[in-house]
């Protein structure tokens, strides 16, 4: 049976640019352009890259904020006007239904951006849990572009100088080429950059304007994956899922301090116990020489005993070598610990490595 794939408002542009289209989370998306994954990755780290992330789920929540906050791990009162936070949507076992961004770009409630593969389930969950208290409105008619890389600010200085006054994790409403857009200073590459939410009818024009800037190349999902991996960022459904808690996923920083103290998010008891007992597996970074270790490869100690598993891995073009993330037993968390990764059954020497693999280059003012 052929799956009917959705198309983003930029689909025709991807095809025109020579994008190699593949199915991803129900969308027909460009995995790479003629520049290739390696070239796109390096261009984004050195200049600026434009990503179409319109497949992600955008929504607004207006109403009783306590009802929404009860589902998340952050403290919504800590998010002021023009601020954004990374948070989690946990299940009752402390497992992670999704990771998402919540923000207040304007006076109109909370703006949410969730993952493409989980958006329908996320929104249904939020709607059911907040029924009668608040209103969640999905915004499928908006495209989402990410402009990432050290030259992103130069581009925006020309096209939307006001947006450059923001620092990392701030957001607001701006005019870009005559169109009102939501912009946040954030992204998922470890680089400085902007995420721009645009009415779909205007999306292609603005994408072409951004691509016309000397610094900017179109970047596909392949390089998006290698960039986020080097930045030590989780890919939902791989590095985190319903069966791994924030403690296991090394995302304790995404739990609001007051929420931990109050213990009032779903699965907070499980999370508190794991923090106290310190026995669970955790997500770590791994580097190795030679063969890349891919998702599913077993991690063993030097005696051959399996002590973990790779959840995402590949070649890091900026690191210029294979990098991976995976879950390991507690005796193996320390950076510098030597292990083996079984690549096609063959043990390959690997080292537990502090994340991120490439230093973050966020603009903090």
């Amino acid at each position: 049976m052929t799956e009917i794939l959705h198309k983003t408002p930029l689909h025709a542009l991807h095809v025109e640019l020579g994008g190699k289209m593949v199915p991803f989370a129900g969308y027909d998306m460009p995995v790479q352009y003629p520049l290739g994954i390696m070239g796109e990755h390096r261009h984004c780290r050195e200049q600026a890259g434009l990503f179409d992330v319109s497949h992600m789920g955008q929504a607004r929540y207006v109403g009783d904020e306590a009802a929404l906050e009860a589902l998340l791990t952050c403290d919504l009162s800590e998010i002021g006007a023009g601020e954004q936070k990374y948070t989690l949507l946990p299940n009752e076992r402390g497992g992670i239904r999704d990771d998402l961004m919540v923000s207040r770009p304007d006076g109109n409630g909370i703006y949410l951006v969730v993952n493409a593969a989980t958006k329908d389930a996320d929104f249904a969950h939020i709607e059911a849990a907040t029924a009668g208290k608040g209103t969640l409105t999905r915004i499928p008619e908006r495209a989402l572009l990410a402009l990432q890389g050290p030259a992103a600010r130069d581009v925006m200085t020309r096209l939307c100088p006001d947006a450059c006054k923001m620092v990392f994790m701030q957001c607001g409403v701006f005019t870009l080429d005559g169109t009102e857009v939501l912009i946040s200073r954030s992204g998922y590459t470890g680089e400085d950059g902007f995420e721009i939410s645009i009415p779909e009818a205007e999306a292609e024009r603005i994408a072409r304007l951004l691509l016309a800037q000397d610094e900017v190349e179109a970047i596909g999902l392949g390089a998006r994956d290698s960039l986020r991996l080097e930045a030590g960022l989780c890919l939902y459904g791989h590095d985190m899922d319903e069966n791994r808690t924030a403690v296991e996923a090394s995302l304790i920083w995404a739990l609001g301090k007051t929420r931990r103290e109050r213990g009032d998010f779903p699965g907070a008891d499980v999370v508190a116990r794991q923090i106290e007992e310190k026995t669970c597996q955790k997500r770590v970074g791994l580097t190795l020489a030679g063969a890349p270790a891919r998702e599913g490869a077993e991690i063993a100690d030097k005696s051959g005993k399996v002590i973990g598993v790779v959840t995402s891995g590949g070649f890091g073009p900026t690191v210029n070598g294979p990098v991976a993330m995976g879950y390991v037993d507690r005796d193996f968390f320390q950076p510098g610990t030597e292990v083996d990764i079984l690549v096609r059954g063959k043990p390959r020497a690997a080292t537990i490595t502090k994340l991120p693999f490439v230093p973050a280059n966020f603009y903090r003012g």
Binding site: Q32, H41, G222, S226, A291, P292, F315, P322, R344
Partner: protein, 121 residues
Amino acid sequence: MTTRYTEDHEWITVDGDIATVGITAFAAGQLGDVVFVELPEVGRSLTKGDEFAVVESVKAASEVYAPVDGEITAINDALEGEPAKVNEDPSGDGWFVKIKLADASQLDGLMDEAAYNAHIA
């Protein structure tokens, strides 16, 4: 010397009873930047269709299959340090292995250049 091609995009060039095997420019282009090549041990016996090497690009690992029966007599050690040779010169410096043919008649079942070009068209 004759060169033949498989449907899985390996090429095989025969000189006497020794064949050199690699992947085609088309395959290298589809894979993108090659970052690692896992090669077999010299001396290993292959049966046509056996997976004998793995090519890793940034995104994925792809298997390479034996186009004929035979024994590995040499591997291209240079690929260990310079896997990009597979992209730069797939039918030359980017070769994978040399095989001592067990049955030269198996070559007749493979495609010539014209047939392969039609296959990838």
